[in-house]
Amino acid sequence: MSALAEVGSESVDLDQLNDDAVISFADGLVGQPGWRRFVLLSGDPTDVVGVLQSVDDPTLSLMVTSPTLAVPDYRVPLTTTDRTALQLGPDQEPVVLTTVTVHDQTITTNLLGPLLINPRTRVARQLVLTDASYSTTYPIGQLGAED
């Protein structure tokens, strides 16, 4: 098995998560309690981007990336309660993903509300990092910049 999501690696960890196993957000996402069950699909061949596809609503999907792609020292402090909710053992770390939004040509990611996924049980949670001053619209790229 590949290394469990070091928070700090730049991969989206799709190799751990992109099978048919459903990822379950028991409480849904913030403001969207009904967004509970997803599968993670590969968004591109190099796995810089993934797609969380709802299994309940075909029209609902979220583009995700690894926050450390943009901010190498991005850290998610987990409380004991968080670890329990994520069913993480003492030596296990969650996969950390952040949602991606494109507005006009600017690609941003939500560093304030990361998605944490237990790679073994697929239990997931969205945390809000209120102790840090992260943005929900942190710019990570510009569409068309590759031309």
Partner: protein
Amino acid sequence: MLVLTRKSEQSLMLGDDVVITVLAIEGDRVKLGIDAPRSLSVLRREVYDQVRAANDAAAASGSRPTPQSVAAALRAARPSAPSVPVQ
């Protein structure tokens, strides 16, 4: 909306597990103490609204570019970014 008046050091019960106490009133600021189960998320409304808006924006798929084009732009911005091949 239910409206209640409380003085400093008085509390409110929300169900059996959540206690909100007015700790201090200083000018136009009210300091609240919240006792709630750790599993319950307690957020300032504006922070909650921000994250909710970000979730909604991320899901809005109307004219969303393809993941491939977004990934290409992100790779272009960071040519050295390693990637993990899907097995």
